[in-house]
């Protein structure tokens, strides 16, 4: 261990380390650091977060009175007092994104709600110090100002919080993300999402504590009321869902849906997906579709999806949809995917060098192809100019 310490002592500091040391040293005279545009602030925040150097001192770099949007990507070391300063130094904030904000206290959140008069969009990851009572007061205060609410990774956002959110802010909510919230344990609490949320455009309900909390019936009742305004739906990890919500929920109600993510839904089958997409005239076409680890799907489902959405698809993820065979890739020889820019076909073992080659032709705009774990893709593949293939065993970094 001594040797290790010694080695560390004599290691030449990286340029980033040197910059960060100096930034911390001069943080109290921010003016000396020169002008940085707001565009760069986000990059600086990212660089500091990556180096785990965003802390109570360096966070002050981002507090400007005319700032409208603030993204702090790693708040692990930013104390509650520093976070509270956002409420006093940045009165014009409209959108706030705090990642890994485990130090955020209830009183600070409430301070935001009262002091930040323009705040309408909030995204918090890992805010586990904030309890039901505080959430309730927060929602009552911010009320119909709230347009985007995005919360992930906390067990303290409970059933009452969800009910309070929808009662107080449901009318104005445009985007709602509830992900990995282990405090939502009452299936009846979820029912409130079925009430009228007139403006809801984006809904993410992902990775519930138990798969049985999110049922087909629940999703159908939510979509029956709110499906017509939705453009984006994410139900990743709700593995209790089967074909029924596709056929009786999405198909009849989601007319303007463009983005759909259904990762880890291992119960949905070819039959269900075909029934959803076959002659689905209500919906013009999906632009983003994520079916990673939908392991019960195969060629028939994928062909039906292309028949419906080929002209619109921009990103497609079929990672680990193992059953896809060469038959599907053969279909792609006749169907052009003009807009497709990104395809993740990792662990789809029927992918091979010749598939890569003709994908380049049938998808003229494809710029990123991921083939991790597809071991028939080798260095011999002929790759069109402008297309980046990553994940082959032969690709070294």
């Amino acid at each position: 261990a001594a040797a290790l310490l010694n080695k560390q002592e004599y290691k030449l500091p990286s340029l980033q380390d040197l910059c960060i040391q100096l930034v911390s040293k001069h943080i109290d005279n921010i003016d000396e650091l020169g002008e940085v545009g707001f565009g760069n602030l986000s990059k600086i925040s990212m660089a500091l977060s990556k180096n785990r150097s965003l802390n109570t001192r360096t966070a002050k770099l981002f507090f400007h009175s005319d700032l409208k949007e603030l993204n702090l990507y790693d708040c692990s070391n930013v104390g509650n007092d520093a976070l509270r300063l956002i409420g006093s130094y940045c009165p014009n904030i409209e959108s706030l994104n705090l990642n890994m904000c485990g130090q955020l206290h209830s009183d600070t959140l409430l301070y935001f709600a009262t002091n930040l008069k323009n705040l309408h969009s909030i995204s918090l990851n890992g805010c586990f110090l904030i309890d039901d009572t505080a959430w309730n007061t927060f929602f009552e205060t911010i009320n119909t100002r709230l347009k985007r609410f995005d919360i992930k990774n906390t067990h303290r956002f409970g059933n009452d919080s969800l009910v309070s959110l929808i009662k107080n802010c449901g009318e104005s909510l445009q985007e709602l993300t509830l992900s990995r919230l282990d405090g939502l344990t009452d299936p009846t609490a979820f029912q409130i999402l079925g009430s009228d949320l007139h403006k809801l455009e984006l809904l993410e309900l992902s990775y519930p504590n138990k798969e049985e909390f999110i049922t087909n019936e629940l999703i159908i009742s939510i979509l029956a009321n709110n499906g017509s305004t939705l453009t984006s739906l994410n139900l990743d990890g709700c593995s209790g869902l089967g074909d029924s919500f596709l056929i009786n929920g999405i198909r009849p109600f989601c007319s303007i849906l463009t983005s759909l993510s259904l990762r880890y839904l291992d119960l949905i089958t070819d039959e269900g997906v075909c029934k959803l997409f076959s002659k689905w005239d209500l919906n013009a076409g999906l632009m983003h579709l994520d079916l990673q680890k939908c392991v019960s799907l195969g060629d028939t489902a994928l062909v039906e999806i292309l028949t419906h959405s080929a002209d619109y698809l921009i990103t497609l993820n079929i990672n680990s949809v193992y059953e896809i065979t060469s038959d599907f890739w053969a279909v792609l020889k006749y169907v052009k995917l003009n807009l497709l820019t990104s395809l993740n076909a990792g662990f789809v073992r029927s992918m091979n060098d010749s598939t890569i080659e003709f994908l380049g032709r049938s998808c003229p705009n494809l710029s990123l192809l991921e083939v991790y774990g597809a071991n028939k893709c080798t260095s011999k593949a002929i790759i069109r100019k402008g297309l980046t293939v990553i994940g082959r065993q032969s690709d070294s970094i």
């Binding site: 004599y10 990286s14 340029l15 980033q16 910059c19 960060i20 930034v23 000396e32 990059k43 660089a47």
Partner: protein, 97 residues
């Protein structure tokens, strides 16, 4: 080959001709030079987000690192102009140095 050179082109079109060994301090540049990318053939890398003033500091650091990485105890202090700190940080993050 120790004498190999590469050209880094800044946003304001200044060309910095430096030793390939120094440029390879940055994993980002190294990857561009080693792989099948166009840059490896032309030995010229366009860096449209970095202006010449900033490039001065970057190039200086790459040579500083090249010279002292094997014997850091002899390294003198490396100076960065305070008013450029944040810009240097963003560029250093991109170049991963």
């Amino acid at each position: 080959n120790d004498d190999e050179r590469v050209i880094l082109v800044s946003s304001d079109c200044h060309e910095f001709i430096i030793a390939k060994k120094a440029a390879s301090i940055s994993p980002t540049l190294k990857a561009m030079l080693d792989s099948s990318f166009q840059e490896s053939k032309s030995n010229q890398i366009q860096l449209p987000d970095i202006d010449s003033q900033l490039m001065d500091v970057i190039v200086e650091y790459m040579y500083y690192n090249l010279k002292y990485k094997d014997d850091p105890s002899k390294a003198p202090k490396f100076d960065i102009p305070i008013e450029m700190l944040l810009e240097v940080l963003v560029a250093a993050d991109y170049l991963n140095i």
